[in-house]
């Protein structure tokens, strides 16, 4: 005999697993610190590559003048200012990533809590039958 309530619950859970739950389950596999650390590292890497691209574009933008001035300018001072810009970019972007990932982790955990509750309920239904 089919148990209607159980089928409804299982369908809801399957739908959750297929759609929004997929990502949440993936997030839920990590500890909070691990998940945030990985995401912040990825963000720092992205910011580094993006800064490299923008810096290269900046150099090519005024390449002739840059090549003329390269022997006159204080290279150490130039490198220091570039590093400061780089540091500021990475720190701001990583902080933003930290805030977003913390929010996403908390949201995923809340959602998974409901999912695990449904799992328990399903288990209880099977036990009841036995």
């Amino acid at each position: 005999m089919l148990n209607e309530e159980r089928i409804i619950l299982m369908t809801q859970m399957a739908s959750y697993e297929e759609n929004e739950g997929k990502k949440n389950v993936e997030i839920g596999n990590y500890f909070r610190s691990d998940y945030i650390a990985i995401q912040v590292l990825k963000s720092a890497l992205s910011a580094t590559i993006a800064f490299g691209i923008v810096f290269a574009l900046f150099i090519f933008y005024d390449f002739e003048n840059f090549m003329q001035d390269i022997y006159k300018m204080d290279l150490l001072d130039f490198a220091r200012s570039v590093l400061i810009y780089y540091g500021v970019t990475v720190v701001i972007y990583s902080s933003l990533a930290y805030v977003i990932c913390s929010y996403r982790y908390a949201k995923a955990k809340r959602s998974l809590k409901c999912y695990y509750h449904n799992l328990k309920k399903l288990n209880a239904m099977y036990n009841e039958r036995q």
């Binding site: 209607e4 089928i7 409804i8 990825k42 992205s46 910011a47 590559i49 993006a50 691209i53 923008v54 290269a56 574009l57 090519f60 933008y61 005024d62 390449f63 002739e64 972007y93 990533a97 977003i100």
Partner: protein
Amino acid sequence: MTGLLELREKIKLIYSKNEVFIIPIAKFLLAFIVFNTINGQLGYMTKLDNIAIVLIVSLMCSFLPTGCILLLSVVFTMLHMYALSLEVAVVGLCVYLVMFLLFFRFSPKDSLVVVLTPLLCIFKVPYIIPVVMGLIGTPVAAVSVGCGVIVYYLLNVVAGSASTIGTMGEEEATAKIRMIVDGILDNKAMLVMVVAFAITVIVVYLIRRMSVDYSWTIAMVAGAIIDLVILLVGDLLYDTNISVINAILGSIAAVAAAKVIEFFRFCVDYSRTEKVQFEDDEYYYYVKAVPKMTVAVQTKTVKRINTQRKPAAAGGRNTAGTGGRSSTRSVVTEHTSVARGEGAYQRQRGQSSYGRKGEHANGGRSLTINGNMTEDNIEDFDDL
């Protein structure tokens, strides 16, 4: 209103029945329009500006994930830029990479928005996107909308500078890069548009989440007005040459589009709002429940009345009192129904698609068979 609600239910039914075909067709049409528009706007690579290629790529997009439309659009624009000049393609690639690395990685699901925003900008109705995304999306959609606006202005700058770049020689590589970079960075209209759209998305989202009556309507009107005001203030400050008439008409179109979406996504009856209050050991709860407006689609009932003649006894012998034949009348009633419920409006139940006890769900049809079942009736049942 009841007629509209019935129409909505019918549209939903048609969509759910034919989802397998509708989604690929929609993807194909969108991809076809997008690639054709790119070819129309840029079109520097003549080999790519070919209807056969557009059709093949659009067909590919119809069964690939939605993100592929964005990816192939980027490839199309990059190839056109490369045909114009290598330096332009390098700048284009840098802009796409920076957008992908810094912004788009936080909202990869909104790839459709990044495609639709420049498309609607070209069709002069970009004001729809921020209002609609504020209603159906999250504040993160502001990033995708912003990226879409930047893509539009990148294509605009490339198309605008194409004739000048075409006359430049290969030795003027830095001048070409400078021209495109200046065209993007000094573009105040782009800046104003990005700010206006981002603020609109966030404002619409915040208002529609508020617990006030008609929050969606308030949100869409407020969003359209804020968008318009920021664009006009930006025009006054930076002389962005935004067409005021176009902006007003676009905002009206945005509200109209948002109203249609509201009808499908958030059609509620505020006159039947219920406010309840209760408590448990830890909290007091103040709950406001607003019922959704739904209507039962008209139920079609087909009655089949079969009169059969069957021999009462073997060998052609008659049974006394039957007049030689027993006549059995059986009725097969077929109900074709989608939503169940009495009255014009009913609360939509979370599990309305599941059948009730004793009913046999059969592809959206339920069958009721009377007790006087004959062989022919059983065949009818099997056919159904």
